[in-house]
């Protein structure tokens, strides 16, 4: 799957050619699939008891593939968990087994405009918690009334994975979650989850989140955040940093503009400061006829040298904690990217049907936010929709029956 846009083939091909030098007897055929088609193609291959020997898996896929018996357990391979960042290694385990090895990780962070914050007399303390941020947004809006044409928060409400990844920060920070009772029941209607959702909805109601950005896709919103003076805050992965704030990038916005942007951890709440941490892991197909060779490649890709090279090329945090790559020339930003995974990273519940549940949450929230805006921010209607999302998840869990 692509990890660095269209350059990913070149990067992984480079790793494979390194591997071939030390393992000339093992042939490696590479197939790169778009993320949008990868799941379907992979599951079709599993249905036919077929597929690749070694698979790059999104961290939210592991529970499904493990449940289906599509990937091999790795606990008998004498793997040292201490070599990997705990958050990433945890994501590779479920149902009491180790199903994959972490490859690289990526967290969500908050991008902000230093100049806007300064003009509104806000400090970084204002963006440490959602409660303080509310106040900061209000100050920014007052600033808008007398000067620049800005809305505090840019947030895309298109049906993309980023929507739920970002929303989860509000929910987790209040102690809420998506599922509970050992993942057997939906948890969107719990007081804590509703509190998190409510504090997000308040930002829309007070126009602290830009209505225009809600209607645009994430790409357009990100482009506007960095290219125009439209917004003060944006939640995203490390990708925009490498595209817009990196002098080596074709789309670098220039040193003068770049210094206006700051990057920090996503704000927290009473239950803590959390952000979604994803990434990719490597697993061996249970239908592989070359499991030994596949494991050799897996070992190679997770060894120190390969991790150093590969993660530097794709600008992602290596899964190994004894490998360090420069994600940013600024030590502060480097620390934010690392902490967003190591100390504040959290993942979605490990449920075999998480993909379907996630689809309902993404689709349901996108619709609920849309209806909320159209209804002049009717919170009762908003939570009625949340109750329906909760019911649909409950249907899935009931039909699953395990």
């Amino acid at each position: 799957m692509p990890n660095a846009g269209f350059e990913s083939r070149h990067v992984i091909e480079q790793e494979i050619s390194h591997f071939r030098r030390t393992h000339p007897d093992i042939e490696v055929n590479l197939e790169i699939l778009p993320w949008s088609q990868a799941w379907f193609k992979l599951i079709q291959a599993i249905k036919e008891k077929n597929g690749p020997d070694i698979i790059q898996v999104g961290t939210t896929w592991i529970a499904t593939l493990g449940y289906l018996g599509a990937i091999k357990r790795l606990e008998n391979r004498n793997i040292k968990p201490g070599l990997f960042h705990h958050t990433l290694f945890e994501q590779c385990q479920c149902f009491g087994h180790l199903w994959s090895l972490p490859w690289f990780g990526e967290g969500r962070v908050l991008y902000y405009r230093k100049d806007f914050l300064e003009a509104a007399h806000c400090t970084t303390a204002h963006i440490e918690s959602w409660a303080a941020m509310k106040e900061c947004c209000a100050k920014l809006k007052r600033l808008h009334a007398h000067g620049p044409d800005i809305a505090p928060f840019a947030f895309s409400n298109q049906k993309e994975q980023g929507l739920i990844q970002d929303l989860s920060s509000w929910i987790w920070s209040q102690g809420g979650d998506f599922l509970a009772t050992h993942n057997k029941r939906p948890w969107l209607e719990s007081a804590e989850t509703k509190e998190g959702i409510s504090s997000f909805a308040d930002l829309i109601a007070t126009k602290s989140i830009s209505r225009l950005s809600l209607e645009q896709n994430a790409g357009e919103v990100t482009e506007k955040f960095f290219q125009n003076d439209s917004y003060a805050f944006l939640m995203a992965s490390s990708w925009p940093h490498h595209v817009y704030l990196n002098p080596a990038s074709k789309r670098y916005i220039g040193a003068k503009n770049a210094q206006r942007f700051g990057i920090t951890l996503i704000p927290g709440g009473p239950a803590g400061r959390y952000n979604f941490a994803g990434g990719s892991a490597l697993a061996i197909s249970n239908f592989s006829h070359h499991a030994t060779e596949a494991y050799q490649l897996l070992e190679y890709l997770t060894d120190k040298e390969s991790q150093q090279r590969y993660c530097s090329n794709i600008n992602m945090l290596p899964a190994r904690n004894d490998v360090s790559i420069k994600l940013s020339p600024s030590p502060d930003i480097q620390a934010v990217f690392e902490q967003s995974i190591i100390n504040h990273g959290r993942s979605f519940p490990a449920h075999p049907l998480w993909g379907s549940i996630e689809q309902i949450i993404v689709s349901g929230f996108a619709q609920s936010i849309h209806d909320f805006m159209k209804s002049n921010c009717d919170k009762e209607l908003f939570f009625k929709n949340i109750a329906e999302i909760n019911s649909e998840i409950d249907y899935i869990l009931t039909i699953f029956g395990e």
């Binding site: 799957m1 692509p2 846009g5 269209f6 990913s8 083939r9 790169i32 699939l33 778009p34 993320w35 949008s36 799941w39 379907f40 599951i43 079709q44 599993i46 249905k47 499904t64 289906l68 018996g69 409400n157 298109q158 049906k159 993309e160 994975q161 225009l212 809600l214 209607e215 645009q216 896709n217 790409g219 357009e220 482009e223 506007k224 290219q227 990708w239 074709k250 075999p352 049907l353 993909g355 379907s356 689809q359 309902i360 993404v362 689709s363 349901g364 996108a366 619709q367 849309h370 329906e388 999302i389 649909e392 409950d394 249907y395 899935i396 009931t398 039909i399 699953f400 029956g401």
Partner: protein, 479 residues
């Protein structure tokens, strides 16, 4: 331009249904002809709500993804505007280096053709717009043709499979085989992720069983007599097939209540919760056809089971009949031999039954026989076989049971019968006793007839030694 249009339409015409390949070729042609950096096709789903990137080609070659997933068309994004207004939109930042063109066919929205100069950041030439509209129209018709072809091919395959499944139903009358064959076909032949069937008990009208299978291929049967979720209970009484999660998910779970004439038989649920491939109304129609067939074969199989049961059952006592006893004794002896398991036999006779009949009448005698049979059935396991051997004689086969185990069962039966009060037709209360002979295979006999004979001998030994007791053959040697 004429040559370009000719090539594009030719490629669609001879694509042989391979949408991936033809889009790759045709998008590359656009890049070459118009000197774009990138060309992409985004297709609308069946509900005309979501746009998914289908193929992205760049000047450097095929692009293997760009982190974009789904786009909702009802909101104000560039794609939505282009689709909903039906005209090209030049867009995205400054300079305007990208154009989105709606693709339609016969007034049906197909998707978006997006062309851009994202890498070189060159403006889109407005002079190209007219030609690009023609190209997008051609793409719309071409893609629509392939989609229609694929859809028809899919339906024909499913109809053929349905016909084969119908034929398979006719090959057996055994209910469990029919149920497994039906839900197995939904997964193995029709390609759904999972199928499950909830079956209503004919007498109690509550869900008694759940049989399910997913694409890993293992059947799972769960006894549901402990209760079923309110959701399943409510779906059972729905009047027509439908999708379960309709508002926010894309038809991943379909259900069909199974009815024979107006009688509810069960509920069939099919889902694509792993592949996340939405089901269509056609899928629901196929599942409904299958469930109609299934309702009929379930009814036939149950009828057959009833007839079969009648032919092996004694009508008065509900125990098995004499013929069935000998058939099962053969089978159980063979099984005991194969696994070197013990096997025991109890021969039971109601003491002084003739006198009882003479005193209280034959109807009261029938009450005694029926009650004794019920007591026996309550005190044996489901794998044991109790049969009416003749008159007031009852025989019990106890597989995997040695002599001591059989004697314990016999004593338990004896106790429960002798402590039972029998209410006669004249409301008078009476007590009865029984005598039992117990034998064990292979210790007491190897031959079937010899085993029965020795149980009978032990029974008559008890009769001659005071009745109201159970005795092992090997303890009656003086006879």
């Amino acid at each position: 331009m004429k040559d370009l249009l000719h090539s594009i339409s030719g490629n669609f015409l001879y694509s042989n249904g391979d949408i991936d390949k033809v889009l790759s070729v045709n998008l590359s042609l656009l890049i070459q002809h118009f000197k774009f950096d990138r060309a992409a096709v985004f297709l609308l789903d069946d509900k005309q709500i979501n746009l998914t990137p289908q193929k992205i080609v760049t000047v450097y070659g095929e692009m293997e993804g760009e982190g974009e997933n789904l786009f909702h068309v009802s909101r104000g994004s560039t794609f939505s505007v282009a689709l909903n207004q039906g005209k090209p939109v030049i867009c995205a930042g400054k300079p305007e280096y990208s154009i989105c063109l709606p693709m339609t066919a016969n007034k049906t929205k197909i998707g978006i053709l997006r062309l851009d100069n994202i890498f070189s950041q060159r403006r889109i030439k407005s002079s190209d717009t007219k030609d690009l509209i023609a190209v997008a129209e051609l793409f719309g018709f071409g893609i629509n043709g392939i989609q229609t072809h694929q859809h028809l091919h899919h339906q024909v395959t499913k109809l053929t499979t349905l016909s084969h499944i119908g034929q398979a139903f006719a090959s057996t009358l055994k209910l469990s085989e029919i149920l497994e064959s039906a839900i197995g076909s939904l997964v193995k032949d029709l390609g759904y992720d999972r199928a499950q069937l909830f079956l209503l008990d004919e007498t109690t009208k509550v869900v008694s069983e759940n049989i399910s299978i997913d694409f890993r291929g293992t059947f799972r049967t769960v006894d549901m007599t402990g209760g079923v979720s309110p959701l399943i209970e409510s779906l059972m009484y729905e009047t027509k097939p439908s999708f379960l999660t309709r508002k926010f998910s894309t038809n991943l779970i379909g259900y069909v209540p199974i009815k024979y004439k107006s009688k509810r038989t069960g509920l069939l649920i099919v889902d694509n919760l792993f592949t996340r491939q939405p089901m269509t109304d056609y899928d629901l129609a196929f599942i409904s056809i299958l469930s109609d067939q299934l309702a009929t074969v379930i009814e036939n199989a149950r009828l057959f089971e009833r007839v079969e049961k009648l032919s092996i059952t004694d009508s008065l006592t509900g125990l098995f009949n004499h013929q069935y006893f000998y058939e099962r004794l053969d089978e159980e002896i063979t099984r005991a031999n194969r696994f070197t398991n013990p096997l025991s036999l109890i021969m039971l006779d109601i003491d002084l039954f003739k006198n009882f009949n003479d005193t209280f009448g034959h109807q009261s005698g029938d009450i005694v026989l029926t009650t004794v049979s019920k007591i026996i059935q309550k005190n044996i396991r489901s794998i044991d076989i109790a049969a009416r051997y003749g008159g007031e004689e009852i025989v019990i086969i106890l597989p995997e049971t040695d002599l001591n185990g059989a004697l314990r069962i016999a004593e338990r039966i004896l106790y429960n019968i002798t402590t039972q009060e029998f209410k006669m037709t004249n409301d008078q209360l009476a007590h009865i006793t029984v005598s039992m002979g117990v034998v064990s295979y292979p210790h007491d006999a190897i031959e079937k007839s010899d085993l029965v004979h020795k149980a009978d001998v032990a029974l008559y030994w008890v009769k001659h030694h005071g009745r109201n007791a159970a005795k092992a053959f090997r303890e009656c040697k003086e006879l």
